[in-house]
Symmetry: C2
Subunit: 190 residues, 2 copies
Amino acid sequence: MLNLFQHINQFISFSEEEFAQIRPYFEVIKLNKKETIARQNAAAKANYFVLEGCLHMYFINTKGVNQTVQFALENWWLNDALAFYKQASSEFYIQAIESSSIALISYAQQEEVLSKFPQLERYFRIMYQIAYGSALKRVQIEMQSSKEYKYFHFIEKFPAFANRVPQYLIASFLGLTPEYVSEIRSKKRT
Amino acid sequence: MLNLFQHINQFISFSEEEFAQIRPYFEVIKLNKKETIARQNAAAKANYFVLEGCLHMYFINTKGVNQTVQFALENWWLNDALAFYKQASSEFYIQAIESSSIALISYAQQEEVLSKFPQLERYFRIMYQIAYGSALKRVQIEMQSSKEYKYFHFIEKFPAFANRVPQYLIASFLGLTPEYVSEIRSKKRT
């Protein structure tokens, strides 16, 4: 849980003593590669912080194909933010891309932590502000870029993903076919 | 400013006395239709709350065409969330679609308000959580839907926009051409 403690302290000042008090609200879980922790149409029960590993959030589209909407590496929070807020059914699955270790906190526990330690509202406010701002940038790139630019921009901007996430998931996230990604990669190599 | 006071109180408990203290940090501005309040490549100086009217946020793409990334009606906050957080240049313009009245607060003033009234962090956390969650849903709809579904889903889900926002801006927001939107609208009518 050291990762989470350090991450919080990148944004607000939160002592070891305070962290020791919120520690019991979290559950630390190991996930195997391809293990699923949250499901589409099931209650959005928890918020997930990646201590180690990599997750993705996806839905199954009307053609039965998995579509990745968000990745999360170490120090990223992940869940269906709207469903979690409304305590409604999630629109998405969350699955481990590699063996991962995550800290999860339920809705009720998170509310309790926030009421006991309201300074954490600032931490989560910043997390969601960054996530929302990044989503706007993604819409911008999506709207104005060629498929080739989208791919190489992603690879250049997020090299950590390029090394760890399978090509077909990057393709899915970018709304490209895996075949197209193979094609532009081999074109670039030659 | 009653709108803002009431809006805050939908999410947290904030007294009239407290609101009177934060009131001077805001500037209330009237915008004419098509008036621009923030510019692409200029510093993201402020955060904007719509008291009355309707704004949109857009960028000019590489072909010189305006692309709307976000609308904001009454009680919506709007700015380039990532640039505002980093105090960097905005990627977007913000313009009034109709005559509007907005409350704006600068970065420094917002930080001061948040440090004096940290309970407002919760309010902004919820605002960004909803905005981020909505952005994820938008990505989902974008990925799985036909152009026709995207348009009619938007109109049905957000009737307030359909009545007030010109068709060509809704088209831009959905990544459709105005011609296509005219076509499916007239097809539906017949």
